[in-house]
Structures are given as structure tokens and as C-alpha cells.
Subunit: 416 residues, 2 copies
């Protein structure tokens, strides 16, 4: 029987060249985040269907790859709906499994717990260029740290990583969900409409201030609210002066500590940073997921024309699951986008190991093969990469192919 | 809604301590196999159900986690059997996906192609201690190399790796499927019964020579065949003399080149090896999968009391799938067993980086926090791992906990 040669729809085979970049980035992630005290953990790729359908996943819950029950548990003849057929699914993110992991293992984990997760997630999204149905996510989370130390460390770790991967001139956009809400409240929008307002605000970078005003009008919000709201965005600068403006202006609806903490985060990152980026206050930053409770942030990169990562504080999520409140803050980098950018750039991985190819004439007698193998072992022990092949008829082509693979030195062995 | 806290049946959360060992082993694998010229590749975890059910997977095909069709393709009301409901499944090994990968991408791959795969596979096995339904496999394969150079390199790479991971005194058992068959043929067993004979022979290390004789008798084989067969096993030594005995004894039913090649492999490995193991000819080695066509091998380790890896030549498998014959030989190490052995042994990962914990008094004002963060950045740049935490009321317990995590130095910062 012939195999289906292509991967399943929306997923991809990873060729050696890309794999080399992926492994390099993964090593850099482990090394860099490790220096900040994050420890790697792993959860199964398969998760209880109940946990995946717990409403924490938003739109992603519609994209689950569901797994059929097995053996006697599968009762096809009496099954009435999909839910009767499945008991689990592939995880669509690493946050829901992290919550489960933490509630299952907290007694064996340090407090605060600084977790690093790198793993595949699956979403049955419509296939499109550059987006795949299996992709790697890379999250760091600090659980049990209620102060802004968590935000500062997350942003420092992430920007240090990006710097080491040779990214420059990017921007960390930062806001706080509490400022976002206070601005809407101050402007007189009804609280039950906040989400509608934020969905429109989120389009600011695409449709501009006028576009946002138009859409808010279409929704039927009062002219006064809209004017007050947009008036503030015109006033607010993207530095700590902007934060101070919010603190002053919103003093009746916002705990001043929220603005003070945000100022501290921005100041700290700005003065400690060791990579080439800027951190800017952006009151239009929304971040889709409703579970955020405090500071939120996103990485903007001109080169990419969009976000290559983001995160924020979600102090109420784990408690909802476990019954015990646990402050939590996380930062997820867009691993696939970073790999894509490095590939497009033709990024050369810094390597020190020499790569040698041994070409051995065909039918070399066993006794003459031995010293060659010993020589290879000796070289490998000294750190050299040695690839032994049988010499082909078309030796020229063979060498060209190996040169493309990065082999710079050829040693030929003949039977004579 | 409360989460289900435990992982799904048969799968596990990986705690930091184990994860550290896993990452260490994975790095060692990439580094060691890399020196032999193996390049990492990856295939999707999800595979076409047709490919998974192609009869190459033997018993594993009964253990597939199957994935439900999605959207309009799922027609629950007209579905009559399981096959109508699913279009894909989780891979149960890395060999079937490798065959698909090779047939899909051969034009972009070097020849011969030396592939390294590390990835999870899933089998809905009955859960039991130490065996999980999601586990990591780690395979190296050489595609397109027809000579014994492939076997030698695979065994050398694998044993070098085990040596670096501090394993000693293990044994590489080696045999050839052609010798296995020739011995059965020489003894007069009918060819259609070979598989039955081999299944019984495979129990030799558990039930001994008498046990094997008994079971063969029970199956109704002639006393003469059984006597001839077992007589040979008594004669054959586990060194190259044993191989030479087979070459001589089986000369009418075995191409002498098979024995000569096996002798070369054993001699080469034995004289080039740089780890503490022995390689021995074992005519009772069967290896379950029917796709093997030539030399087969297995790692035996007293410490574990069983196999911690194995492989062999399977020259006909890829051709069956792709229509184009491609010689192939692979070696799979038991990643999970190796990790388990290292954990049980209390293996300490060699590390050079210092681990420091900064403890900061609660409510440290922002201006006093900055120099501390700068100091941490400076240290991290110099290779030190620095974990910053807020000082807890029970500082003693906090320090104990961090000491257990490997932090050897504590720096305390107070607001005064």
C-alpha cells in the first residue's frame, strides 16, 4: 500500500536547515531563561476534554483536535453528539495545562514558581501561509509573586533573549487592564459595554483614531463619552509622563498604586535593559484574552509588522480552577515567528566545531577500514564533526552536496 | 468549574528535577550524534490514519489514539464504524513518519541521509508502572547506505552516547535476520513456521534451552529438527568464532558474505570502541518487528534487566511505501528508560554555572530596587544564574527550599 506522502493538512515536515535554527533558538531560550531562575517543566500534549472546554481558552476552544474514546468506552450506537465520542483532546495552549499542573503538583514546587514551558500546541485553524495547525509555544510564567518584580523579570528575560538572538529596535508595549477599564469608566461607557469598547479600541493601529470614533458611534455610544475617551488618547504620551497623566486624570476611578507600579516597571526595565529596544506605555493595548487582571505587554517588531509575543498578569485564573487564589504572570514569545524571521534573514548560527567529511572508496577491505574508523573516533573526541560516507561515482556532486551541508574539509581514503 | 487535576490516564506531568535530566540527555544526544553527522528533523505528531494503519506498525496499530474529523467532514448520523469518524491519529513510532518524510522530501535531502529524531509518540497501552501512554522516542537512521558502514556508525554513535552518560558494562547483542532464518532452514523447520519458531526462541533468556525445546515440541515440530536446532545454539560462542562457526555450518543455506559482514561489524566496533561495553554475537536475538532484513542489534544492561534500545536494517520498508527501494538501518535508544535509570541513580548533572538567590525585603522602594536589578543583570551576563525573590516571613524555610533547588549562595537586600 502506498503511503500518503504529504503531512496532514496544515502541519509540516521540518527540514534539517530549519531544525538547526529551531534547536539553536530552543537552546538559547533554555540558557537565557535559566539564568533568570526559570525551570523547565512539561505537561502531556493530550488533556482532558473537560479542561480544554472550561471557557478559559476563548475562541481556541472551537479549534480543538478531539481524541476518540477507546475500547469499551466508545459506544458508537448510542452516541448522540460529539461529546459522547471523545474523552480528551490536544492542548491548544500551555496556560490551561499549566494551571492543571500547578494544582496537581504545587506541594512539590518552590514558591514562587518560575516555570519555562516549550511545547507543541494544536489548533484546527483555517490553513494559511505561515500559520500551522501544530506549532511550538514558549511560555515563561511566575506563579505566586504578587509584586511587579514578576513583570520586570519576565520583560527582562524576554528582551535579553531577543537581544541574544540578534533582534534590535523592537518595542515592548505595556499597559494595565485596570487603566484600560478606568479610562472607559471615566468616559462614562456603561460597564457591560467595556468589552465592546475594547474590541474597537484594539483596532487603533489599523483604523486610527477617526476609525475608532466612527465604530464607537455606530455602536450607539454617546458623543460625550467618545469625545472624552479619545481626547485622553490624544493627550497621553508613550513615556512615564503618560502614565503620570493617567494617574492624575483618573484619580477618582483608579487606585494610584496601579499607575505607580506601571511607572516602576517601565523605569526599571528602561534603566536595567541590556538589549536594543524601547519600552513604551500604550493605553490602546488591549490583549484579547479576558483573564488578564493587571499589567499586559506585547512585543512589536517593525521587521515583522505585528506582535511576536505578549503576556500579562492573570491573578484570578488559577484560583478559579483550584479554589486557591494564586497570583500569576506570564510572557509567551512567538517561537514560530522568531524562527521564521531568522530563516528569512539567512541567519547563520555561530558554530565553532569543524565539519569534516571522510570519503571512503567502495569495497574497502575490513582491515583497511579499521584505522579510518579509529581516526574518526579520535577526531570526534576532539570536538570535530566527522561524517563518513562511501565515495560515489559522481564524487564532484557528492562533495557539492556536502559543502551545502556545511562540510568544509574532505579527506579521501583509497584502497591501494 | 473545577479542573481535573490529574493528567489523563497513563500520561504524566514532568517535574523540574526530571526535566533537568531529560534536557541534559537530549542535549547530549544532539551533541554526540551530531559529531557523527546526524542531522535533526521533525515530523508532525499527527499522522494520516491510513499511514498509521498500513500494517508496518504491527501490534502498535491496535493502540492508536485516533482523532475525530472536524466540521462538515464529521457526519455522526451516517457514521457506521470508527473509521468513518476519524481522519488522523497520534503517531505510535517515528519510523512510519520517517518513511513518509523521506518520500515527501528526498529531493531536498543528502544521500545517504543520516537522520536524528527525538519526539513523543503515543500508545494506548494498558497503564502500568514505569510505562506511559506518551513517551519520548529517540531514533537515528541512515537511509541510502547499503554497506555495513551504516551498522558500524549506528552502533558507534549509540555506544559513545551511553558512555558519555556514564553507563558501563553494557552489552551490544548482535545477530542477522539472515542467520536466524538460515539456522531454522538448516534444521528443517518448514518456512511458513519460521515466525512461530522465532517467537519461541525469543524466550530463551527467560525459559532457557530446555524451555525452548519443550515449547517447540508442543508446537509439533519434529524431534530431529529441534535437536539439530538446539545443538547449534550449544556450539555457537558469542564471539567472532561463533560467527565463523555459522558461516561454515550453514554454508549450504547462507551467503558467506552475511557472516563475513557481521564479523567485520563486530571486529570494527570492538577495536574502535571508546566506551566500556562488549559487543557479542547472539544467535538467539530475534527482534519482534517483521520488517528487519539484515543485521539486528539490542542493548542489554544488567542494571535495567532488559533492553534499553535496539534496531537493525530494514531495506525493504521504504520501498514498499514509496515504490523506490532505499536501504535503511536504524537504532532507537530507550530514552525514558535511560532517564529513569539516571534518576534512580541520583545522577548529578555536571554544571559549572553558579546559582545565586537574591532575597529582597518586602516593599523595597523602586529607587532602591534598581541597583539590585542592575547587579543581577551584570552577574547573569557573567554566566551566573540569579533568582530574585521577595524575602518571606519564614526566611529560613525559603532558603531551605532554594538550597534544595541547588542555590548555593544567598544575597539579602534590606531597605535601610
Amino acid at each position: 500500500m502506498a503511503l500518503k506522502k504529504k503531512p496532514v493538512t496544515g502541519m509540516k515536515d521540518i527540514l534539517p536547515k530549519e531544525m538547526e535554527i529551531r534547536n539553536y533558538v530552543m537552546n538559547m531560550i533554555r540558557e537565557t531563561y535559566g539564568k533568570f531562575g526559570f525551570t523547565a517543566i512539561e505537561t502531556p500534549c493530550v488533556e482532558h476534554i473537560e479542561n480544554l472546554s472550561s471557557k478559559q481558552g476563548g475562541e481556541n476552544e472551537k479549534l480543538i483536535f478531539k481524541i476518540l474514546k477507546r475500547g469499551e468506552k466508545l459506544k458508537l450506537d448510542t452516541a448522540e453528539c460529539e461529546a459522547d465520542l471523545v474523552d480528551s483532546g490536544l492542548r491548544y495552549d500551555l496556560t490551561v495545562p499549566l494551571s492543571r499542573y500547578y494544582s496537581n503538583n504545587a506541594s512539590q514546587l518552590p514558591a514562587p514558581f518560575k516555570a519555562l514551558q516549550m511545547g507543541n500546541v494544536w489548533r484546527a485553524d483555517r490553513p494559511q501561509r505561515g500559520r500551522f495547525r501544530q506549532f511550538m509555544q514558549c511560555d515563561i510564567d511566575i506563579l505566586g509573586e504578587s509584586t511587579y518584580l514578576a513583570e520586570i523579570e519576565l520583560v527582562m528575560a524576554t528582551t535579553t533573549l531577543l537581544g541574544k538572538l540578534d533582534f534590535h529596535n523592537f518595542t515592548i508595549r505595556i499597559n494595565d487592564r485596570k487603566i484600560l477599564k478606568a479610562m472607559a469608566q471615566y468616559s462614562g461607557f456603561p460597564e457591560e459595554s467595556f468589552d465592546t469598547v475594547f474590541i474597537i479600541l484594539d483596532k487603533m493601529d489599523k483604523i486610527g483614531l477617526e476609525g475608532v470614533a466612527e465604530e464607537l458611534e455606530k455602536e450607539g455610544f454617546s458623543k460625550e463619552s467618545i469625545d472624552t475617551y479619545l481626547g485622553m488618547f490624544k493627550e497621553i504620551t508613550s513615556d512615564i509622563e503618560g502614565v503620570r497623566y493617567c494617574k492624575e486624570k483618573l484619580r477618582d476611578v483608579l487606585d494610584p498604586k496601579v499607575a505607580e507600579d506601571l511607572e516602576t516597571i517601565i523605569t526599571a526595565v528602561d534603566s536595567v535593559k541590556n538589549a536594543d529596544f524601547k519600552i513604551s506605555f500604550d493605553p490602546t493595548l488591549v490583549r484579547g484574552m479576558s483573564y488578564y487582571t493587571g499589567p499586559i505587554f506585547e512585543i512589536a517588531m517593525d521587521e515583522f509588522g505585528g506582535s511576536v509575543g505578549g503576556g500579562g498578569r492573570y491573578d484570578e485564573m488559577i484560583g478559579k480552577f483550584t479554589g486557591q487564589n494564586t497570583s500569576a504572570c506570564g510572557f509567551s514569545i512567538g517561537f514560530e515567528r522568531i524562527v521564521m524571521l531568522l530563516l528569512e534573514r539567512g541567519y547563520e548560527i555561530p558554530t565553532s566545531a569543524a565539519k569534516k567529511a571522510y570519503l571512503i572508496e567502495k569495497n574497502m577491505p575490513a582491515d583497511k577500514l579499521l584505522p579510518i574508523l579509529k581516526q574518526a573516533e579520535e577526531e570526534r573526541k576532539n570536538g570535530v564533526q566527522v561524517n563518513i560516507s562511501i565515495m560515489k561515482k559522481n564524487k564532484k556532486f557528492q562533495k557539492e552536496q556536502m559543502t551545502a551541508e556545511g562540510y568544509t574539509e574532505f579527506v579521501e581514503f583509497f584502497n591501494k
